[in-house]
């Protein structure tokens, strides 16, 4: 009996080992089904493996992959990294025997990290389909590492109906003074109106990026503009010229909000749901919210970060992208070709590009479908009226995770006690922290 038991145990162990050693490719954080996962069987036809970093686009991408398989017969595997884990997932996946052939390199940090694993896209068929090179990312040697596949904008989303209900007009929202007057009035009368000015400004990881990644862009952008040219690499230091402007807008948001500033540190409030439910007139966020917001507020629009900078009546929205495709230079030639073919098809096929545009917002390609996103339309309208576009200088944040974490911590202390000393700490984290992270990154 013991012998049989021992034999069974030995067989179980052997089977377990065989299972461990098999070539099953399991995505660590896939949020959707895979349309196809088989690598090129013959060695002649390549396949595509797209490591996506936008969880909200996963369904659309699975649909596109399925469509491509139906139309062209080529396998496209789409794996989506769980929210906030793209860097970890990419590192793990790239080390596997079947690494992603298509992945996202969306900012200066990523270009430095992944340039060695990215194909130079200069003059390639997909690069020739672009209608602008504004969203392309190059490394220090001038290699085109990644190209934008969609662009986005962020600012302050507004519910015009609530502004009017509060006795104001959208025309008042042309600068910081106007925004402040409207927001403070709504907040003061929140109990009678039944809604407040700003939705919650939580500082947990699901929300803090709105302030430490996006709103802080105004500090960088205006400095960049003062420099006279667009940044092409991360500056070693920052000036504090526009920190007070950030404070103006930040204070307005947290002090005229549904949630008390002292209750923001660990989050737990759903700013999007609050805005959609008509509980707040303003919502700090971006164009990717259009789909969700337009379900209940079809006429929602977006205004720039008015923060008290001179001449800001001519400010536009913050436009840019972190959605840039890179093709794995270490993939086989067949897979690289298959990936290139897939991308060209995606931005030219009417059906596929419709699905992609509806999910992403807008795609900067000559033959892609037009966007239906009203927030992006608002960005275009500002630009058409001669307003300046605030580009995403925030993409150059050095040591982005540590930098933002320090800023969040300083803002938490400030939210709990809005003293001058605590604001000094925020300033230190924002300005001196940049220099420290730059040094750590480049040292």
């Amino acid at each position: 009996m013991k012998k049989i038991l021992a034999l069974v145990l030995a067989m179980v162990m052997t089977l377990a080992l065989v299972a461990c050693g098999s070539k099953t490719e399991t995505a660590p954080a896939s949020s959707g089904s895979e349309s196809a996962a088989a690598p090129a069987a013959s060695g002649k036809t390549g396949s595509v493996y797209w490591l996506n970093f936008k969880p909200e686009s996963d369904d659309a991408l699975q649909q596109i992959a399925k469509l491509y398989k139906e139309k062209k017969g080529v396998d496209v595997k789409v794996v989506t990294a769980a929210s906030g884990t793209y860097s970890q997932t990419l590192t793990a996946e790239m080390d596997k025997s079947n690494p992603p052939t298509l992945y996202v390199v969306g900012n200066a940090n990523s270009v430095r990290d992944w340039s060695d694993y990215a194909l130079d896209l200069t003059g390639t068929p997909i690069a020739n389909e672009l209608n602008t090179d504004a969203y392309n990312l190059y490394d220090e040697n001038g290699k085109l590492v990644s190209i934008g596949y969609c662009f986005e904008c962020y600012g302050i989303i507004v519910n015009p109906d609530l502004i009017e209900k509060a006795g104001h007009s959208m025309d008042e929202l042309k600068n910081f003074e106007g925004l402040k007057a409207v927001a403070e009035d709504i907040h003061a009368n929140a109990s009678t109106l039944g809604f407040d000015a700003f939705s919650s400004c939580d500082m947990d990881s699901s929300s803090s990026w709105r302030f430490t990644g996006h709103m802080v862009n105004l500090v960088y952008y205006y400095q960049e503009r003062d420099g006279g040219s667009k940044w092409t690499e991360c500056p070693p230091t920052l000036t504090d010229d526009y920190v007070e402007n950030y404070k103006n807008l930040y204070d307005l948001c947290i002090n005229n909000s549904l949630t008390d500033p002292t209750a923001l540190a660990t989050g737990g409030h759903d700013a999007e749901a609050e805005f959609k439910a008509g509980k707040a007139a303003f919502f700090v966020n971006g164009s990717w919210e259009f789909g969700a917001v337009s379900e209940t507020i079809p006429n929602a629009t977006m205004i720039p970060y008015y923060c008290g900078v001179a001449g800001e009546e001519k400010a536009g929205l913050n436009c840019g992208t972190e959605n840039c495709w890179a093709i794995n230079s270490k993939a086989s030639a067949e897979d690289q070709q298959a990936t290139m073919d897939f991308l060209v098809w995606l931005v030219t096929d009417p059906e596929a590009s419709r699905i992609a545009v509806d999910s992403f917002g807008a795609m900067p390609y000559k033959n892609a479908q037009e966007s239906t996103n009203k927030f992006l339309a608002a960005a275009d309208a500002y630009a058409a009226n001669g307003c300046y576009v605030m580009d995403w200088a925030t993409n150059y944040q050095p040591g982005v995770d540590d930098y933002r974490a320090a800023l969040v911590s300083a803002l938490n202390a400030y939210n709990a006690d809005q003293s001058a000393a605590n604001w000094e700490t925020v300033k230190t984290a924002m300005i001196d922290g940049w220099a420290v992270q730059y040094k750590a990154q480049n040292g």
Binding site: A10, T91, M94, Y117, T266, G399, A406, V408, T425, T428
Partner: protein, 319 residues
Amino acid sequence: MRRGGCDRHQVCEKKELVLLSKKISGGNSTRRQTRKWSWLFMGPVVAAFAIGFVWPFIQGIYLSFCKFRLIRDAQFIGFGNYLTALQDQTFRSAFWYTAGFAIVSLVLINVLAFAVAYALTQGIRGSNLYRTVFFMPNLIGGIVLGYIWSMIFDGILHRYGTSIVENQTWGFWGLVILVCWQQIGYMMIIYIAGLQAVPEELHEAAKIDGASKWQTLFKVTIPNVMPSITICTFLSLTNGFKLFDQNLALTGGMPIVIQPDGSSVKTTEMLALNIYSTFYNSNAKYPGVAQAKAVLFFILVAGLGLAQLAYTRKREVQQ
């Protein structure tokens, strides 16, 4: 008779010797057969151990001397990663924080687990139900526990205008409470097993000798449950040092102290979380530094664990 008896005795001896030699030769044959097939039984275990532990461990040590973004492209650079790791202020800070946490949690978990185990072996009604209830938190994952407890703590701390991620002291004690809540039940089970194994005669003897309850506890019970204490202190010490997911979910290293020069230190970051953060730092040289930190971390935990085992084992008594 004597001669005959003697003969019979000699015959008996011879028979016994024959039987013994047969037994021995039979035993050898069984052993030989066992040896012949031992690879079948040992092989999978050895292979699993080699694939799952030995090889990654060796590779990990090698990578600690390398610069790499992907493991397959590692470049040997010597001891540079170790120097960077040892000069890293955040690593030193995480070490002291972890050491403090491990000591406090070690004491609290073991004292409370022993107290609960002692109470539940006194024959009180419903003790089985209590054992189950106390053990259950151990079945919940660390990440889930971290988020649940952050909500509980913040529900209370918000009344006082603060939060678990805004105050280092609250962060420390919050983590201690969480870990105690999770691990006391587990250690309690080990202590109950130890307490139940103490012979009743020893207690009776102590009672007859006129020992008080405290004397019985310290002079009879505790020396006899030293094997359980050895295991529990080893587990809670190493768990304390290795803690990761609860740390990540409860505070994530917050609050961060911003130094006047702009540098920052995560005040509730423990060693494992520090290694993780270092690995995914955007600077390409940091995965190797994180690997070096991990090797130092292994040496530390293994050294402390073995030292503690040697210390407590000396105090175990033989029944």
